[in-house]
Symmetry: C2
Subunit: 437 residues, 2 copies
């Protein structure tokens, strides 16, 4: 019988655990032999004492071994995937997936639902009537073969140990750990069969990481975990001080994604999407270098090819596509529509993404507990972004809420999230760091 | 609703928690609102990040508030108590209680049962046929009034939070924490109504603490916690490298206690007992200083007064007293009696108390899980102690076991616990440090 107390004690004392120890913990967790309170004590010891790279690798593999692993080799092509550490207004996947597919690559992603102040891609996609995100592995693979794109909800058959462990981390203040986070993300990416993963590491006040140093730490760790398994992990650090693009809220973000695919996207979103796309496409077996990949991607946003791929994708996953040509089909909540206006003239010097994210979450766009429904119709559209010059009473943002009262509350929060300066402000960069290859 | 995750997070980040935080944790634990996994995460964070003196005081008080508190004021006299951090062959309470009572003081103690390699006083007392350790508070007080002595099992009505917390610490590798340990012990002492507590802090390879520095840390902490509540805590550091006295095992230790009360005790045990007794008696309201207290205690071991108090005590708690005059009434297990003999001539330079304690535990004298029965008849009697000169084949120790096989195994372990040197060895000191007042 495994002596779990001894394993916990050794981690508590800062020792590096053996592979057999970590495997025993994960097996014990899955077989119900490791009680939650012992897992929690180990998690806190691991949080505070850290995990070595070797331990993190073993943890990643042990979590993968807890469930099924997708074999995408019959596609005969590199499968591209993307992970974001979570941001406000982050609709990048909705644009990136059809964009790289329109270039001839295959994009397959299993995605989580949102928690806290950042929304989840699956929640956004489910704004589209009929769109299905729950499917068996066979259908996931068939969709990749058919359209070159599939974005599905995380399969409970893949890495079930991570579900258990994450649920426990969430209630024991052990979420913000680089090795635990890296193992969690990479185990799912590896199990889902990706060959190349672009990692959008958000940095700033609306993000999980508040400094580039923290973000680079987890990015390098995930790159190492990927290397071990023959997976190319491509980290890109992007800014998350203000919301990305203009729209924050499920359906509103889908509409902004469509506008972007039509060549009418906001600059910051377009820059992030083309950077991530180019990074992926270099590894898609097309023979493109970074410059060419960026150019080809930019062209497909302009010439309708990316939008056409989006239309095929949405239809293939059962979604109604009428909203693509008629945005009024995804009407935002209008009973509580409230405009936020500039209290003074000047330049927008910052918009607190965390505050905006929380305001939209409070409107019902996000969930506080797993399993709660989300409201697709509520949100905020940012009119003036950081660096924009505004006159007094100019529109800063529009809130879409279910009731006037909720709208007013969100409007007040959004108003407070703005800082307006008397001095001219340069728009901040959005892509902070990446490697060309 | 209390945000337990936030409390855990703050402790994890090394913050000092507010009184309300700690009170909320203990209340949540008792009301079933704080799940074990969150309590476990908090315990590990507290273990690794530490608790301030203020936090430890609040924790102590919150644990006391979880149950009843004994009011011993109607006795009109200082109630003396003693706590040992646990050692091998530690029968000190069995001698100390009647000794201080024979001097006219009141000794009242609630005691735990043994776990791991050190035995518990209650287990030892229960070797005596008929002896009752389970009683209500009223009877505890009545016995103190009647005979001046009572040693009862820990009442589940006192400090129930400690039972819950300790059970969790035991399985999450969070036992060896000075603040958690000090709060656990002192909450029970305070709730049981003691006025003066002598603290026998064992130091050495058979003890919880392996260095004087570690032991002093917890001793000072407990002294501070006591001061806050108007309780005098008197720490004495004593050696626990080799077993204390000769006997290790429940009934064997009772018999050695009787011999000591008869003035025939081993030197080390007599020294510890008289030191602890003198420390207590200075605070018993008798007007004695330390020198006089030590002298008076020594006399009562010699003149039969302490033995007479022992007899009254045992009878008052329902025990048969015939064994006091006829030790054969507490016969040790003899089917597996095995002698351990010196493999070579020389001086005993060490006897590993931990190894002896574990060997006796393995014979059945101790328990590995709460609630398991213990065997009162098994144990080891050490014949040659550290510093003794032995010839080849001289008796080192005698094992009393239920079967020959068990006896042989224990004998091998006891033999290995001995180191014999070719050079003369000075017997080590047993009382390492104490303050005179």
């Amino acid at each position: 019988m495994t002596d779990y107390v001894d394993i916990i004690r050794r981690k508590r004392d800062g020792e590096e655990l053996a592979a057999a120890d970590i495997e025993a913990l994960i097996e014990g967790l899955m077989e119900g032999e490791l009680p939650d309170y012992q897992a929690a004590a180990w998690l806190m010891a691991a949080f505070l004492e850290g995990l070595s790279l070797a331990e993190t690798r073993v943890l990643t593999r042990a979590m993968i071994a807890s469930g099924e692993v997708l074999d995408l080799s019959r596609l005969g092509r590199a499968v591209l995937d993307k992970h974001s550490t979570g941001g406000v207004g982050d609709k990048v996947t909705l644009v990136l997936a059809p964009l790289v597919a329109s270039c001839g690559a295959v994009f397959g992603k299993m995605s989580g639902r949102g928690l806290a102040h950042t929304g989840g891609t699956i929640d956004k996609l489910e704004s589209i009537p009929g769109f299905r995100t729950t499917m068996e592995a066979e259908e996931f693979i068939a969709l990749l073969e058919e359209t070159g794109i599939c974005v599905a909800g995380q399969s409970p058959r893949l890495v079930p140990a991570d579900d258990r462990l994450y649920a426990l981390r969430d209630v024991t203040a052990t979420v913000d750990s680089n090795p635990l986070t890296a193992a969690s993300i990479m185990s799912k990416k590896i199990a889902a069969g990706a060959d190349v993963v672009v990692l959008d590491v958000k940095v700033g006040r609306g993000a999980f990481f508040h400094s580039k140093g923290q973000a680079l730490g987890v990015a390098h760790l995930m790159r190492s975990l990927g290397e071990e398994e023959g997976i190319e992990v491509l980290p890109v650090l992007t800014a998350m001080d203000q919301p990305l693009g203009h729209a924050v809220g499920n359906a509103l973000e889908v509409l902004e994604a469509v506008a972007t695919l039509r060549g009418e996207g906001p600059d910051d979103l377009v820059e992030v999407v083309t950077t991530l796309a180019a990074k992926l496409l270099v590894h898609a077996g097309l023979g493109w270098d970074y410059e060419r990949a960026a150019r080809e991607a930019g062209e497909r946003l302009e010439n309708g090819a990316a939008l056409a791929a989006f239309r095929r994708w949405i239809a293939a996953q059962g979604g109604e596509t009428a909203f693509i040509d008629d945005p009024s089909r995804l009407t935002p909540a209008s009973l509580g529509k409230v405009e936020v206006r500039a209290p003074t003239a000047g330049w927008v010097s910052s918009i607190d993404a965390l505050a905006v994210g929380r305001a939209v979450h409070a409107l019902g766009a996000g969930r506080s507990r797993k399993g709660e429904p989300v409201d697709h119709a509520v949100g905020v559209v940012i009119a003036a972004k950081t660096g924009d010059e505004v006159a007094e009473e100019d529109l800063l943002a529009t809130v879409y809420a279910r009731t006037r009262e909720q709208g007013e509350a969100a409007a007040a929060a959004v108003a407070s999230s703005y800082t307006i300066s008397g001095e001219e402000v340069t728009p901040p960069p959005v892509v902070l760091a990446y490697q060309l290859h």
